[in-house]
Structures are given as structure tokens and as C-alpha cells.
């Protein structure tokens, strides 16, 4: 499998502000890759470098096997981009903008254009100045999804969409994945990423802090366990990787490092298990754990 996007040690500064400080991102061909990070962590800067709109200060970037800066226009024929905040020309209609962007990209499929307009319930005859934010977003989505390209770069594409339209978007991306297209999806909506993405990359302060499959990432974090036992358990507090242990009579609640689950369960069964619920970590917990790092480091600095 070749990588659609391969970024190593990417750096970019605006004057004295460092936007990217050694970011790594690898997106394999045919996968839907989630790109997560708090506001200002460098997601949009990374995407704009991939589009050749910004020039990298350092590091290596390969996009569809080419250099996004020097081969921009050739590469752009093979990708489509949806910005998070779509600005349109106020006196052009949505349909005109879709056709314009499609033609500039090298053509779009009219049948697909029509079906996408139906699915997103977008009226193409309305002038762009009369569109709401959500409708402007739909214009960019239809233009991108109706074009025959290998790679979709989506920068918070569902901001401003209502839940019904968000569901339509998710269905479209599922189809794209089935059709073998590669998608880089930058998003804040974790349920969306969790449902759609094969792998995710989490960035913070311009650096990659975590990358891998969701299953793999879950291994790095804790599973919450609640159990009712035959008798009060012994020695759980001595086990490695057990946190927030709360024992009331013969009921137990705790968080267990996912890679230490085996030893923990062995100890539980020794006491006889009447009922057991365990919850895998949600992406939200993964996400919060990395962002909580921000606050911890701030506290350390101020202490």
C-alpha cells in the first residue's frame, strides 16, 4: 500500500508564531483518516500546505507521490478540497459555483451532481449571498463529491450542517470509502470521526501526539469496569494499571489500563463474578486525555 499523504517533520512559522513544529501525518491510499486537534493546533495550516497555498519551512511533504508546492496544479486535478468556512462569490448561484469548481478541476459527473443536490436538498438557483452558512458548506461539498478524484481533503466539512445533513454527509463518505477513495477528514465531531475513520492522527501545538487505528489507540488508554462479586475482592489495589479504584462491599468500579486487563480480570474471577460491565474508552476520552495534558503542563509551569 502506498501513502496518499506522507508528511514528516513539517514546520511552518508565521513571523514569530510557530504554527507547525515537526508534524507527522501518514494517510494510506484508500483509507478514511481522521485529523483531530484543538483549535489552533495546525490542522488548517497542514491542509493549506498540502494544497500548495503555503510553502513549508521544513520537513518533507509528499502528496499523491508528488510535491504539493512545485506540482500544485497537476496534483489538484486528482483531489478535491472543502474548506471549513466556505466563502462564495455573492452574485453567483450555487449551481454556477459547483460547475465552475468542477470544470477547473477537470470535469464532474452530471448525474452524480444531480443526485448530490437532491441528497443535500440544495437549491442550485439561489445566489450565494442568500445562502446560510450550512448551504454554502453544501455547495463546496457537492462540488467536491461530484468530481472524479482520488483524494478528498475535508477541513471541518460539516460545520454549519444540521443533523440530517450530517447524516447524509456520513453516508456519502461511507460510499467514498467503499469506492476506494482516500479521505483526510479534519473534524471536531468525534462521533463522526469514530464512525467514519479507519485511522486517526491527533495533533496539538503543531505536533503529532498520537496516530494509529482507533482500536490501536484504545489500547493505549483505560477501560472502565464495574463488577458485582461473590465476596469483597482482595489485592486489586496492588495490581499495576488499576486506577480510581472504588470498592463498596462486594461492588467494584475502576479504570484499568487496557493492556493490563488480563491480570485484572484474573483477580476478579478469583472472587467470583456475578455481573460485569466494561466500557471501551470513547474517542472523546482519548481526545480529552491529550488535551488535559495542556492544562497539566500549564499548571506545572505556573506552580
Amino acid at each position: 500500500m502506498t501513502a496518499a499523504i506522507d508528511i514528516v517533520g513539517l514546520r511552518k512559522a508565521y513571523g514569530k508564531t510557530t504554527a507547525l513544529d515537526g508534524l507527522d501525518l501518514r494517510v494510506e491510499s484508500g483509507e478514511v483518516h481522521g485529523f483531530l486537534g484543538p483549535n489552533g493546533s495546525g490542522k488548517t495550516t497542514t491542509i493549506r500546505i498540502l494544497l500548495g497555498l503555503l510553502r513549508a519551512d521544513g520537513g518533507s511533504v509528499s502528496l499523491l507521490g508528488g510535491d504539493p508546492w512545485s506540482q500544485a496544479t497537476a496534483l489538484h486535478r486528482r483531489l478535491a478540497y472543502v474548506p471549513g468556512d466556505v466563502s462564495l462569490w455573492p452574485n453567483l448561484t450555487g449551481g454556477e459555483v459547483i460547475d465552475l469548481l468542477g470544470k477547473l478541476r477537470g470535469g464532474l459527473d452530471p448525474a452524480r451532481r444531480g443526485s448530490l443536490l437532491d441528497r443535500f436538498e440544495l437549491d442550485p438557483t439561489v445566489k450565494a449571498r442568500a445562502y446560510s452558512k450550512g448551504n454554502r458548506q453544501k455547495v463546496a461539498l457537492v462540488a467536491a463529491l461530484a468530481s472524479d478524484v482520488e483524494l478528498l481533503l475535508l477541513d471541518e466539512p460539516t460545520s454549519g450542517l444540521d443533523p440530517l445533513m450530517e447524516a447524509a454527509f456520513r453516508a456519502c463518505i461511507e460510499e467514498e470509502r467503499a469506492g476506494g477513495r482516500t479521505v483526510l477528514l479534519s473534524s471536531h465531531i468525534l462521533s463522526e470521526v469514530e464512525q467514519l475513520c479507519d485511522r486517526v492522527t491527533i495533533v496539538r501545538l503543531g505536533k503529532t501526539v498520537e496516530t494509529g487505528s482507533l482500536a490501536g489507540l484504545r489500547h493505549l488508554t483505560r477501560t472502565s469496569v464495574a463488577a458485582e462479586l461473590d465476596e469483597p475482592p482482595q489485592g486489586l489495589d496492588l495490581l499495576p494499571g488499576v486506577h480510581d479504584l472504588d470498592i463498596v462491599g462486594n461492588r467494584v468500579r475502576c479504570e484499568v489500563d487496557t493492556d493490563k486487563l488480563t491480570g485484572f480480570l484474573r483477580q476478579l474471577t478469583a472472587a467470583g463474578v456475578r455481573s460485569l460491565t466494561s466500557q471501551p474508552p470513547t474517542l472523546e476520552e482519548l481526545f480529552l486525555r491529550h488535551y488535559a495534558g495542556d492544562e497539566a503542563s500549564v499548571e506545572q509551569v505556573s506552580a
Binding site: 478540497y81 454556477e96 459547483i98 470544470k103 438557483t125 445566489k127
Partner: protein, 533 residues
């Protein structure tokens, strides 16, 4: 709660927001009156001199259409003739800007939503806008009257004079209150109101220059005409001032009535639907043309009409220059023909500067597309930066040439119609207009180079360059600037046409310089980061 609740607080905030703009307008309009009185007092200190001037000016259709009728030979009458109609355009524009700014522009920016959610009545924003406009016109009238009286003009006449000017301001505040309810956007609300203002000016211009037996009554239909028809410093017709007051009241009330029938941030004129798709929008050039064509059409029409007006007014120009002494000096400079040529050359070079302004604003559309986030989606497709940049730049260049060609053509048609000469005159003046284009192209090229190489500074610097070039052309001779300094301006190198001899070399050099500047801009654009919105 009344529909006017909160108006007072809004007015205080609006006056605070506008305090600098209002002071600048006040200063410019008052300085205009002061310099007119001062100028006429110096030029024609004696009654005999003024009578001589009035006799010639009153028969010059160019003067009559531009300024209006002369109602006397006193210093006050000359001042009112020169300033009343022109300054009433100024107060009209000021009122339009104020009213639209505090109604539709605020709605468009979303600020009115914040305000409207507080304890503010439905009509308060419009009432506030009208109150600010009325206040501004009253203050301007009082200060202009004080200036006129300080220069020794009669008090009663001065009051009638400034009342006419402020009256026109009130009329256009009312008209803007109506267009603000009709139009879809703030921009078109302003455009509609300014359209009415231009129409009023043209009505008066036609009426005033019509002569005996012509449709002179047209001036009576125009708010622009009422400003002079009160004969401020002659036998004053005070009742004429009731016309603008009545129209302003009716228009303001009509605006308030219409305001109850429209939705927030929407006009009464229905938003037209457009095409569901487009086969023509297939390249950056097609997009740039689509974005720029309306502006070019307006500029082209405006300059063609301007050309026809200056061309048809040129014939009698010698007669306006008053005393025999002046005419003898002028005769030495080339006689009547030389005088007409010099007049047309001066007005055409003014249009050259205007065309340079068109070139700058058209090139800088690239910058606003970039900073407002509309460049990203285009540049993220197969369209390259060069084709995107070159598309807007070539429309700027072609538009500049077209504007100068139409100015020259219009001037030729107007002149040939009044003075005869047929196709030869038209060709001669078309060439004279076109000869201005290379200098305007150089200014546009500077904007293009700045956009590519120093994008952040491009807007301010481009317009400053034009400002310096205008100052050199207007003041260069007066300030006796050395030729080395004047040579910096591309307009210095143009031949004096019509009348002079044209050498192609400087024109070719200017075109090459413009091309090089545009190329430098494109080269810079290729190497730099695209700003994010």
C-alpha cells in the same frame, strides 16, 4: 413599547461612530465655499469685471450644465452659481452614505441583530439614521453660512444659499430611506440612491443648458435644481425651499412605511434566482470576467457619457474666459483652436487618472478575493496561480484601454456634433483618449507588482501612488517641482493631445514598463504564501 424606543441611544452611538467622517465632510464642504468666495473676490474685484464674466458664462452651455443658471452679478450670486448645485451633490452623497450605513450595512454585517434583540423599537434604526443625516446637514449648513458671512456675503442670502444645499441633503436622506427598504444589499441600496442623484443632476444640467424655448422646466423637477432656484443672493424666492423639505418628509415617511413590510436583511425587491448551472464558467478568466463585467460596464457607460459632455461643451470654452486681456494672452498660446485643445487635453488627462483608479481597483480585486477566502477554492483546483492572477490583470488592462477609448470616442462624437468636423475629429480625439492609456496601465502595473511582492501593503500603497501622481499633475506646475521629480509620474511622459505632436516612443516604453510590472507581480505571486481568510 413604541416602535421608536431606543432611538436616542442609537443616535448617540451613531454620532460617535461617525465623528471623524462627519468632521472631514464638514471641513471639505466648508472649505469649498470659502475657497470659491476667496477665488472670485480675487479674480473679479470690480462689478464691471463680474458683469463681463457673467455675460460670457451665462452663454456657455458647458458652464450652465455643470453649475447652473447665474442669477446676478454680485459676489454672492457668483458663489451660489458655482457652489449650490455641486455642493448639493456633496450633501446628497453624505446623506445617502449615512442612511445606508446605519440601516442596511449594519444589518448585512450582523450588528443590527445584536441591537435589535435589545429594547429597541422596529423603526429605531431608520429613525436614528435619518436623525444623524438631518443633524449632519444642519450642522454643515450652519457652519457654511458662518463661513460665507465671515467672507462678507449678505446674511439673508447666505442662509438661503446653505438652506438650498442642506435641503438637497435632506431629500437624498429620504430617498436613501426608501432605497434601503427596496434593495437586496447595502451596496445596491447605495447604488440605487446614487442613481437617483445622478439622474437629478442630469435633469438639471439639461434644463439649465436648454436655452430659450428649450425644456428649462426640467430643472424644476430636480432636487439638484432646487438648490439654485431659490436665487439665494438675487431676489430670494424663499418658498422654493419648501420643495426639498416637503419631498424629504414624504420620502422619509414612505421609507418608514416600507420598513414595516420587509424582513431583516432582505429587500422588498425580490431576490432574483439565477441559473442552476453554468457551462461558460470554465476558466479563471471566465470567472474573473463574470466578477468584473458589471463594474466595467458601469465605468464604460460613465466615461462615454462624460466624454460626450466634455466634447460637446468644448466649443464655447474660449468665451468663458472673461476679459479681453485674458483672451489676448490665450490667443498667443494658440488662439481659439489652441484653447479648445488645451481644455480637452486637460479633461482627458483627468480621465486618464480616473482610468488609473479603475486599473488599481480591478487589480486589487485579486487581494480581496485572497483575504476573503475566495482564492483558496479556485487555487485548490487545476487552476494555477499564474492563470488566476493574469486573468484579473488582463481584464484590468483591457478595461483601462476600453475606458480611455470610449472617453476619446465620446469626446469626439460630442465635439463633432457641436462643432462639426465629422469623422476626422472623432478619430483625432479617440487617439487623444487612447494616448492616456499607457500611463494608467503603468499605475495598474504598480498595483499588480505590489500584490505579488508586498501583498499586505498593496492596497494602501497603490492608492497612495495614485494620490501622489494626481498631486503632481494638479500642483506640479504651481509648486515648480523640478523636472526630475515630475518625471517619476508616468503621466508626465504623455504627449499633449489633442493639439500636440505624438511620438510613439514614450508610449511604447510605458506599455513595456506596465508589462514588466505585471510580470513581476505574477512572479511574486508564484513564490509567496496565499493569505488565509
Amino acid at each position: 413599547m413604541s416602535t421608536l424606543t431606543g432611538t436616542g441611544a442609537l443616535v448617540r452611538m451613531a454620532l460617535r461612530r461617525d465623528r471623524i467622517m462627519l468632521v472631514v465632510w464638514l471641513y471639505v464642504l466648508t472649505a469649498f465655499v470659502a475657497s470659491t468666495v476667496y477665488g472670485f473676490r480675487g479674480l473679479y474685484p470690480t462689478t464691471a469685471g463680474r458683469i463681463d464674466f457673467v455675460n460670457t458664462a451665462a452663454h456657455n452651455p458647458a458652464f450652465l450644465s455643470l453649475y447652473g443658471q447665474i442669477y446676478g452679478d454680485s459676489l454672492g450670486s457668483l458663489t451660489a452659481w458655482r457652489d449650490a448645485t455641486l455642493l448639493s451633490i456633496g450633501t446628497g452623497l453624505l446623506s445617502i452614505f449615512i442612511v445606508v450605513r446605519h440601516t442596511r450595512a449594519d444589518e448585512e454585517a450582523g450588528r443590527q441583530e445584536l441591537i435589535g434583540a435589545t429594547v429597541v423599537g422596529r423603526h429605531a434604526p431608520l429613525a436614528c439614521a435619518l436623525a444623524v443625516a438631518v443633524t449632519a446637514n444642519l450642522v454643515i449648513a450652519v457652519i457654511m453660512a458662518a463661513a460665507a458671512i465671515a467672507f462678507g456675503l449678505p446674511a439673508a442670502g447666505s442662509l438661503a444659499f446653505v438652506a438650498g444645499i442642506a435641503g438637497a441633503g435632506l431629500v437624498f436622506a429620504g430617498i436613501a430611506a426608501i432605497t434601503a427598504q427596496l434593495a437586496q444589499t447595502a451596496r445596491s441600496a447605495r447604488g440605487l440612491a446614487i442613481g437617483v442623484l445622478v439622474f437629478a443632476f442630469l435633469l438639471r444640467a439639461v434644463g439649465d443648458s436648454a436655452g430659450q424655448g428649450g425644456p428649462r422646466w426640467l430643472s424644476w423637477l430636480s432636487p439638484n435644481g432646487w438648490a439654485e432656484l431659490d436665487r439665494a443672493f438675487g431676489s430670494t424666492r424663499w418658498w422654493v425651499l419648501a420643495l426639498p423639505l416637503a419631498v424629504a418628509l414624504v420620502a422619509g415617511a414612505a421609507g418608514a412605511m416600507l420598513a414595516t413590510h420587509r424582513d431583516y436583511d432582505a429587500g422588498l425587491l425580490a431576490q432574483r434566482r439565477g441559473a442552476a448551472g453554468s457551462a461558460a464558467l470554465r476558466s479563471p478568466l471566465a470567472l474573473a470576467w463574470r466578477l468584473q463585467r458589471a463594474s466595467l460596464l458601469a465605468w464604460a457607460t460613465g466615461t462615454l457619457v462624460y466624454g460626450i459632455v466634455i466634447g460637446s461643451s468644448a466649443k464655447g470654452i474660449g468665451g468663458a474666459l472673461g476679459s479681453g486681456e485674458v483672451r489676448r494672452i490665450m490667443a498667443r498660446l494658440g488662439g481659439q483652436a489652441g484653447l479648445t485643445n488645451a481644455y480637452l487635453a486637460a479633461l482627458l488627462s483627468f480621465t486618464g487618472l480616473v482610468a488609473a483608479g479603475y486599473a488599481i481597483s480591478t487589480v486589487l480585486r485579486l487581494r480581496s478575493e485572497e483575504t476573503e477566502g475566495r482564492a483558496d477554492p479556485v487555487l485548490a483546483t487545476g487552476a494555477g496561480r499564474i492563470s488566476w492572477g493574469a486573468a484579473h490583470m488582463s481584464i484590468a488592462a483591457a478595461g483601462t484601454v476600453l475606458i480611455m477609448a470610449l472617453t476619446g470616442l465620446g469626446t469626439g462624437i460630442g465635439y463633432a456634433y457641436r462643432a462639426g468636423g465629422g469623422g476626422a475629429e472623432i478619430g483625432r480625439l479617440l487617439t487623444a483618449g487612447l494616448a492616456q492609456a499607457p500611463a494608467a496601465l503603468v499605475i495598474g502595473g504598480i498595483a499588480a507588482a505590489l500584490f505579488g511582492l508586498a501583498p499586505r501593503a498593496s492596497v494602501a500603497t497603490s492608492w497612495s501612488v495614485l494620490g501622489v501622481v494626481v498631486a503632481m499633475l494638479v500642483l506640479g506646475a504651481t509648486l515648480q517641482l523640478s523636472h526630475w521629480v515630475l518625471d517619476i509620474s508616468p503621466f508626465t511622459h504623455l504627449p499633449k493631445l489633442p493639439g500636440g505632436t505624438a511620438h510613439p516612443t514614450p508610449l511604447i516604453v510605458l506599455c513595456v514598463v506596465a508589462l514588466l510590472l505585471g510580470g513581476a507581480g505574477l512572479a511574486g505571486l508564484r513564490r509567496r504564501d496565499i493569505a488565509s481568510s
